[in-house]
Symmetry: C2
Subunit: 130 residues, 2 copies
DNA sequence: CGATACCATAGTAATCTGGTCGGGTATCAG
DNA sequence: CTGATACCCGACCAGATTACTATGGTATCG
């Protein structure tokens, strides 16, 4: 089970933005300098913005900054924004996907693991990483 | 972040085999009857066998059985066999993948999360699911 | 105005997923 | 011995996803 580059790049970018939290907007080019293809990163920053994790300033001297203080942004927030929520089985979100949903022991396992893994991811904030 | 059908089917199959632990070898067809395409499942059972989680009996009346008692097989074992080990970043397994590996804070985060998520997955055994 | 820098959509090559197909080989019942 | 059963194995394939690239916009500053 691997993490895609979206998740990794997303976290690297957020880490960079957290490091420069009080230095005004950081341009795409600056963020990309940690080793991410510029135009690809541009898409990813779009996802982060639409999920309310960063906000952007257009025009000359524009760029991106984190939308909340770094202690309020967790790895879970970032991964959910970049890769969609953790879904071990479809029946977690939607009861109707499987006939035996109510009495299924496997489902109970997926449910428990999903909750615990999410809690783990939410236990690390950007601030913790600095 | 989603789990592929390999992981899901693998766990369903192992769950079935654990339920019939002392009833002799269970044929592919029987296992597949929980709702998995037969020929696809055959591949998956091959992976499980090569990873030592099940063993097989050939010939008429043959089939598959779990290779260890159900309390010694965890969800982690199964998912690792089916999807490869959890790898949030390549630098966890291989120090040399990145120049700044030794002093990187992000890496420390991936490392901690990997350990904790694996522990979570290892905390549920097949027996727990019955 | 014009340079800077974000925004949005579309295209694309390579890889991965979720299978199917065909031809083996081992074992047992009769 | 022979045939039926049932695992073994590699190749193939369509469709989705990934990781980008390309192009043309739009907002803002000086
Ligand atoms: S079999 Fe169980 S875990 Fe799988 S989809 Fe149905 S309810 Fe969910
Ligand atoms: S930047 Fe850090 S986390 Fe990423 S590959 Fe390098 S050492 Fe690992």
């Amino acid at each position: 089970m691997r993490l895609s580059t979206r998740g990794k790049y997303g976290l690297y970018a957020m880490h960079y933005l957290a490091q420069h939290e009080h230095e005004g907007p950081q341009s795409l080019s600056r963020i990309a300098s940690v080793g991410i293809p510029k135009q690809y990163l541009e898409q990813l920053l779009g996802s982060l913005r639409r999920n309310g994790l960063i906000h952007s300033v257009r025009g000359a001297n524009g760029g991106y900054q984190i939308a909340k203080p770094s202690e309020e942004i967790t790895v879970l927030d970032i991964l959910d924004a970049m890769e969609g929520p953790l879904a071990l089985s479809d029946c977690i979100a939607d009861d109707r996907c499987c006939a035996k949903a109510t009495k299924c022991r496997v489902r109970h396992t997926w449910e428990r693991l999903t909750v615990n893994i999410n809690r783990e991811l939410a236990s690390v904030s950007l601030k913790d990483m600095l």
